[in-house]
Amino acid sequence: MLQGWVIFIASVAYLGLLFAIAFWGDKRADQGRSVINNPYIYALSMAVFCTSWTFYGSVGRAATSGLDFLPIYLGPTLVLVLWPYVLEKMVRISAENRITSIADFIASRYGKSLYLGGLVTVIAIFGILPYIALQLKAVSTSFTVLIQYPEIVMPRNLGRVPLFQDTAFFVALIMALFSILFGTRHIDASEHHEGMVVAIAFESVVKLAAFLAVGLYVTFGLYDGFQDLFAQGGAVPHISQLTHHFGTGGYAQWSTLMVLSMFAIICLPRQFQVAVVENVNPAHVRKAAWLFPLYLILINVFVLPIAVGGLLQFPDRNVDADTFVLTVAMANASEGLALFAYIGGLSAATGMLIVATIALSTMFCNDLVVPVLLRLRWFQARFTGDLTAFLLFVRRSAILFVLILAYTYMRLIGESYALVTIGLVSFAAAAQFAPALLGGIFWKGGTKAGAMTGLILGTLVWLYTLVLPSFARSGWLPIEFIDQGPFAIEFLKPYALFGMDGVDHLSHSLFWSMLVNIGGFIWGSLLSRPSELEQLQAGEFVRKLDTPGAEPVTTWRGSASVGELREVLARFLGDGRADAALVDFARRNPVDLHPLAEAPPPLVAFAERQLAGVIGAASAQAMVATVTKGEVVSTEDLMRIIDETTQVIEYSHELEEKSRALEETTAELRAANERLKELDRMKDNFITTVGHEFRTPLTSIRAAGEILSDNPALPDAERDRFYSVVVAETQRLTRLIDQLLDLSKMEAGDLEWNMAPLDIGGVIDGAVAASSPLAQAAGVRLDTELSEGLPGVVADRDRLIQVLVNLISNAVKFCDPAVGRVRISAEAGDGVVTVSVADNGSGVAAIDRDRIFERFQQGSSGESLINKPKGTGLGLAICREIVDRFGGRIWVEAREGRGSVFRFTLPV
């Protein structure tokens, strides 16, 4: 059944189906019923990551080296874990800036630099072209192998296929046609290529189904499930070695492959194309973050079983492991499955061919051709009109050019070593974009000079440590270049740079290239000064994480007329689209579209973005600059204004802070001043009061003394009376001074306190005993009432007695003169002992209740006003000082009925 014509017709039919699907996709899009506005299609289109290198090569790698094919798919899974930070951010940035490719992205980020875009494009073309060649070779090989059925012959034993019998040549041409048809439908490269994306998603389904079919066939058809397969494989020592160990490269290579594939999933131009440029809705990233890794798991589950099966089927090793996916079915006469596997491999190859070619041709056109042409005066003079047809022509030619170049490369280099390893070499080339790309979206400080330095250094090291030695191994350079280093300089050996030996070539290259790339990027950025436009773009790209959907900063200040802008737009978009764009803008923004009207800055920015989708950010900026008169970019002004504004805001903020602080200080000062005034007044009062208090007894003493000295003949009785007055007043004076000293000592904290646990009942009894002579003299009855089981308190016994005696004597003094009663009681509760001294005197007026505890303040009510004050006016102040010291509280209450109660508490 597997004659040549069957295979040919099947291939043509499959490719025809692809065209039909793409056509249908575009048609649906035209009707406004987008097929690709769907996270599942988006995730499937990302599976373009799995090329024929995956389809055939993974099995080959597993059969020769072991498990180290896996990190190439584990790495992307790791990156997608970080989807909110990496992929979604890139998608948002690209949607807003109408990014058309990875070169455009990097150029845009670093100040819309023409040189950077060109550099990235050149690296991408040189890095990816061999990879495209590899796909063509896979198609060619698989066809050649299949057509030998029922024999199994390796292509290397067949000699060269003539050009026009080579399937790869026709596939290349058909793919060129496909890419031209569905990849250059729109002049705006940031538009979605709906048909192409649907076709890619379809291809992803086909290759997965084919691979799973082969896997299931091997595992459950040829063998009795996984256990059986691995048991049989395990019996063969070298197969067992493969299935139980990391690849021959060991851990270093394992880790390197993981890192490399992490970079590849975002840096390969075709991945950037499907995941970022073709993304319809950033929300799709969320679902693709787990769908795409799921796809990778599915397509990898059977790699090892197929490899083991193949090794068991062809024990004499005359069949390339790279063809196991085909040959295992062929060897067992499963013709239909073999054909399906071939179609699966074809779909894996064509998917990559289409997307990579479109991505590269867009970059080639927008980042190499257009910038160069726009700088040529003769071109400017010659092509003044509509350039859309010309641009499409450039892009289509680029597609054809890329594919033919890839095919030529494959024909020329053929079976050489260079082609076999090119998959990973391409990954390593794409990885060189990672520092500029990731650094660009996370680090505001990255500059154009840094990105340039890193890219150039990294690529040179990549070239030196991977590409040149592979040339040497293919025989185009003397092999001594590897063995002895260039010019026999030992430490420059490309596989052991500076003597770093014992690492696999890939890890070695990745280490050195990333070292100089990242180092160059960081140091170049730190040592250079970014232009204003770079700073603006850096802010735009980096802040996307914090403020998704924030409006882009407008960098243009209008000095272009609407007519001129329209003319520039029309040159690159065509008349119809240019007008439609302007009308569309005017519909949302109040703007005068008269050709002579001045274009407001948002319109200029809008026009620039429209152009950016067509010719890339760098060229778009240059083109708009040609019609905005005067200064090209007004960002310098803008930045200055921003700077000044920020400064003013900062200053006024500082001022506010300071004036608030000043107000606070003023308030504090005022309060302090009030307090000082109060204290001053109190001091004056104190002195006045003290003077008054001293004068009263002094006056009495002086009067008595004068009477005694003036009247020597005074009767004895009289004389005695005056003497006793002198003694009493002197005692009073002494007491006053003692108390004054006591109080000031207490206030200054100079007094010694003998704090000890005390039985409060005993203390009260002692105080009552000390006061009873006084009470008896005044005819007052003292009652004591102590609760049972009073807890002990900690206090200074003498001072506590002083308080009690003072309160009792006060009570005695102010008692009802007729039937004086004083009751002393103590009770426990709430963690304190409360001692009360109650009298039945005239009581204390409400307004005096706080005042009487101040120095020299005595009750104003009752007899104390009429009569001479009965005390020094310091007793209660001292009491309060002492009780405070004990940690208690003292106050006075009105007593029910008549009199007042002085209470104080002591903590237990």
Partner: protein
């Protein structure tokens, strides 16, 4: 005709405020910890522990281990992105998908 980017509505999932409590906060923290976990489990030195001749259920332990971790990581991405990140507002149909003018 794609819309002026300035006009594209905020299509962040749920349009949550982009502060620390938003999507980047909760789901982001989970994402980063999952990334570190996956990197730890899939890179040396941890993976060296499963290398060897041992089999489990008749399959090489290293093969089982790598796929088990892989499946677990994908399942966790699913949980984080579909459960912790708020669902996008269905009313925000992207205009980009509209056909050419």
């Amino acid at each position: 005709m794609a819309p002026d980017p300035a006009q594209i509505p905020d299509k962040s999932p749920g349009g949550a405020p982009p502060d620390a409590t938003g999507r980047a906060g909760r789901a982001g923290a989970f994402s980063i910890s999952l990334f570190l976990f996956a990197a730890l489990m899939l890179l040396p030195p941890i993976v060296t522990l499963v290398e060897g001749e041992a089999n489990l259920f008749g399959l090489p332990v290293i093969y089982l281990y790598l796929f088990a971790i892989w499946i677990a990581v994908v399942a966790l991405i699913y949980l984080i992105s579909e459960r912790f990140a708020p669902a996008p507002d269905p009313t925000l149909v992207p205009e980009d998908a509209a056909p050419d003018a």
